[in-house]
Symmetry: C2
Subunit: 338 residues, 2 copies
């Protein structure tokens, strides 16, 4: 391990976005006098009559959820994107705006109100993976849908308003900022090397073994060299794949196993239901040549030192660059050992 | 006012960063079932014997604060950047890192433990402005310091660990991500137009009057067209100035007045001590030609609907683009009316 990286303030380069993260390894010992998060250790029932995501219950718009068994998808009752919205474009001096259409869906991971992904079986997670794949294919066929963002906000601290295990799928006509950056950088590399940048990156990480948390035949779970959040992690297919629609049945299982291992390790780290936002970045559905894309799933968990002390991405981070204290190598080591 | 912008989902372009924000005006009515923030309405004493920022008290490293009257600056006891750190650079396959040196300071705005900027007199804020100016000049002279980030995290919800009114100044050898983006975009515009982009933008906004909160002779307070946070605002000098060191005594006063008006309006909005991160973006101190820079101060407040309900920048925002419900025009109108 390069010891300078563990001792001195430095910045690391994110090969996927072209941006930097500031790392301050010497600062991990700073005392904490700020806000403590509320820890909810309440046991939840398997079915909650007041939960609008539980099977058989009525949602705010009057629709009744079916008695679903595996995963269940519906269109968001308060969608941020409208599908039939007016198309317009504004360019008035320095003011520029474009209409944006899309479809926002909610995906319940399980009818069991009490279980998070970490507590679900690999088989049950496999059903979620299968549903993601199906939705990616279905939405991707729509003419006005050029990108599909699958994500989960887990925990009240991540703005999640309902503890029932669920995620979201927002699909839209243009590429969001983060996806656009990754599109550019992946294309640049592919044009020079004729291999995806993540294919080469995974190889390098598997050689070094410093930031690996887990691997099976098809997937690697690691803390990326340029991780921003204290315990950020990434699940990557070892071989280049543009999107989750390329997954074989066996690979779906292995992806489910990788999710299971990582989320279980998270829950053990601070002995709590570990909050995070996770998301899958994959090829746009814009009918262009996207061979430069190598899909991956990232986890951005906010906790820093315990179940109640989180990292705040504020002041310097908002105006300057993201900043972290604990290094990616130490974070990977802690997660690997669990 | 363009009514499409108030009715349909769209994206707006940030001319300073080249990024987009997704706006969903139709969604402002969504019910909130998520986390409520803790509201601290406790009255604070003017001097707190346990506060390490109060005059005369001892800090964690044993140093004693002087009996300061106006603003007081000291070097951060747990600095994220080290000034005498080893210089190194790593480029190993797809891993890239660079050492980064710098100086982090803390600035107490007032010896009065109980007062925020909103509660201080314009004169007292003027002393803070004067100190920022002095620090910008002082740090800027150091050979390894090429950029100086002045910022404030206000409120526990913004990771602020001590209610004593204070901000921070992080200075460093390279340009952080956000500053780099603004450097590029401002230069592009200046090279084509021979005027700063913000000089032209301020003129356009003053003509339209839709997003203006306040103005005096030298400054405008407005909600930028591309605002991300629900009540985000910006203070801009009307005429092009590279950095705060260009401020005359009279302009310092007017800047202090602008800060006072905005922070007081914030406190009135939800009848609470309004949390935010604020920061000044200004020309680097890298001895290059920075005539394309037009300094400005931005406020990123997290509250959305009340003193306890904040906007979460999570899931979609982390993986896609920032997203807002209430439009910049409505936010400006609410703040202007206070
Ligand atoms: O330096 P402080 O106030 O202890 O810490 C706060 O501001 C810093 C700079 O924005 C952040 O890195 C920390 O996450 C935040 O808690
Ligand atoms: O859609 P939800 O779960 O109500 O809302 C949550 O996720 C959204 C997508 O990341 C965010 O825009 C909201 O701020 C957050 O509270």
């Amino acid at each position: 391990m390069n010891s300078d990286l563990q001792d001195y303030s430095h910045k690391r380069y994110n090969i996927l976005t072209g941006e930097w993260v500031l790392v301050s390894p010497h600062r991990a010992k700073r005392p904490w006098q700020g806000q403590n998060e509320v820890l909810n250790k309440e046991e939840r029932p398997s079915h909650d009559a007041n939960c609008y995501l539980c099977a058989g219950n009525t949602r705010i718009n009057g629709e009744v959820n079916p008695n679903y068994k595996g995963a269940f998808v519906f269109t968001n009752d308060f969608a941020a994107l409208q599908n039939d919205s007016k198309s317009f474009s504004l360019s008035d001096g320095l003011l520029q705006a474009e209409s944006e259409t899309g479809i926002c869906k909610v995906i319940c991971f399980s009818p069991d109100h009490s279980k998070s992904l970490a507590e679900m079986s690999i088989d049950a997670i496999g059903k979620v993976v299968d549903t993601w794949k199906h939705e990616y294919e279905l939405l991707g066929k729509q003419e006005n849908i050029n990108y599909i963002q699958i994500f989960e906000n887990k925990g009240a601290v991540m703005g999640c308003s309902n503890p029932h295990p669920h995620g979201q799928i927002w699909s839209q006509s243009s590429l969001p900022n983060e996806v656009f950056k990754k599109d550019v950088k992946q294309l640049e590399y592919f044009q020079t090397n004729n291999r995806t940048i993540l294919e080469d990156y995974v190889k390098q990480e598997l050689d070094l073994k410093e930031r690996i948390i887990f691997e099976n035949d098809a997937f690697v779970v690691l803390v990326p060299f340029w991780a921003v959040w204290p315990f950020e992690a990434m699940i990557l297919p070892k071989k280049a794949q543009q999107n989750i629609s390329c997954l074989s049945k066996e690979e779906e299982n292995q992806f489910a196993e990788a999710i299971s291992v990582l989320t279980k390790a998270y829950d053990k780290l601070f002995d709590c239901s570990f909050p995070y936002s996770s998301g899958i970045h994959q090829a746009p559905t814009n009918n262009k040549d996207n061979t430069h894309w190598h899909w991956h799933m990232s986890f951005y968990p906010p906790l820093l030192r315990s179940a109640t002390v989180k990292k705040f991405m504020v002041g310097y981070e908002m105006f300057g660059s993201p900043q972290r204290d604990i290094t990616a190598e130490i974070a990977a080591q802690k997660l690997r050992e669990l």
